[in-house]
Amino acid sequence: MTVHNLYIFDRNGACLHYSEWNRKKQAGISKEEEFKLMYGMLFSIRSFVSKMSPVDMKDGFLAFQTSRYKLHYYETPTGIKLVMNTDLGVPNCRDTLQQIYSTLYVEYIVKNPLCVLGESLQSDLFCSKLDSFIRALPFFSVRAA
């Protein structure tokens, strides 16, 4: 059980933060293209899910799963999108992503007056706290299952 990587996007599609812990295979394209691809996919799938929903929609798009990995998605009311890829053993990451937002992003980025919102995150403190938070998660182990 492990976490592969984590993306944080802002409302305009700019990737604020990306870190990886256990990525075995790269995408084959440059990082900017990868971020654009990810953001574009999320945007499309969210509108698809809301349009095609046969019942009244409550939360919208939550996660997708393949035979090897699962992608979890959490969007805040202010438009910050957190995307985490984990392996299949992880049940539901929504609370974790919500915790990352409230205890890490808000505390160390929003409250840091030297971090300009909307630009790529520079704070070392945020990166180190995020790293230790992910490593402390119960479903994180260094070697992928």
Partner: protein, 180 residues
């Protein structure tokens, strides 16, 4: 919790605002002194509220202990971690986890911006002391965030002047046979 975030956001915005208004070589110095003067006025008002029920202070050390314990707790919800003095009017207040710096960094990043974030609090302490009747100069230094040290230098010049002045009056009276 909400009120703590409110003050933090307001404080950060004050610093950004003063920073933007000052442009030029002396920008950092003027920015810091503006913030310090703001803190001075706030400190004067705050100390009136906090000491309205406390008894009079016995001596300087008592005043400094009040600042370290009750005053710091009311403003920053924690006490000063270490107070040192040379018993000659210089006090060093050390806070190992200063509330306004914890979100900035945990180490050396953003160190050059740290003085601006301490200026308001320096003024706060100076204002509080001045309304108690202690004239002082307060400076701050930070080497590894979020720990910082505030140095308070008590000014004793006022007292010395009075004594000399008193001596001069008596001297003139004895020699000049004037009215004492």
């Amino acid at each position: 919790m909400a009120d703590e975030a409110l003050f933090q956001f307001l404080h950060s915005e004050i610093i950004q605002y003063v920073n933007r208004a000052e442009t030029g070589e002396s920008e950092n110095g003027r920015c810091v002194s503006k913030l310090e003067n703001m803190g001075f006025r706030v400190g004067q008002g705050l100390i009136e509220r906090f000491t309205k029920d406390t008894p009079r202070f016995k001596d300087e050390l008592d005043v400094m202990k009040f600042i370290c314990k009750d005053f710091w707790t009311s403003v920053f919800k924690k006490q000063i971690d270490n107070l040192r003095t040379n018993h000659q009017g210089i006090y060093v207040l050390q806070d190992n986890k200063f509330r306004l710096l914890t979100q900035l960094s945990a180490g050396k990043q953003y160190l050059e911006h740290a003085p601006k974030f301490l200026a308001f609090t320096c003024g706060l302490v100076r204002g509080a002391l001045s309304n108690i009747g202690v004239k002082s100069i307060v400076t701050a230094e930070v080497s590894v965030m979020p720990a910082c040290k505030f140095q308070v230098m008590i000014q004793k010049i006022l007292l010395g002047c009075d004594r000399r002045h008193w001596c001069e009056i008596r001297f003139q009276c004895e020699y000049g046979r004037g009215l004492c």
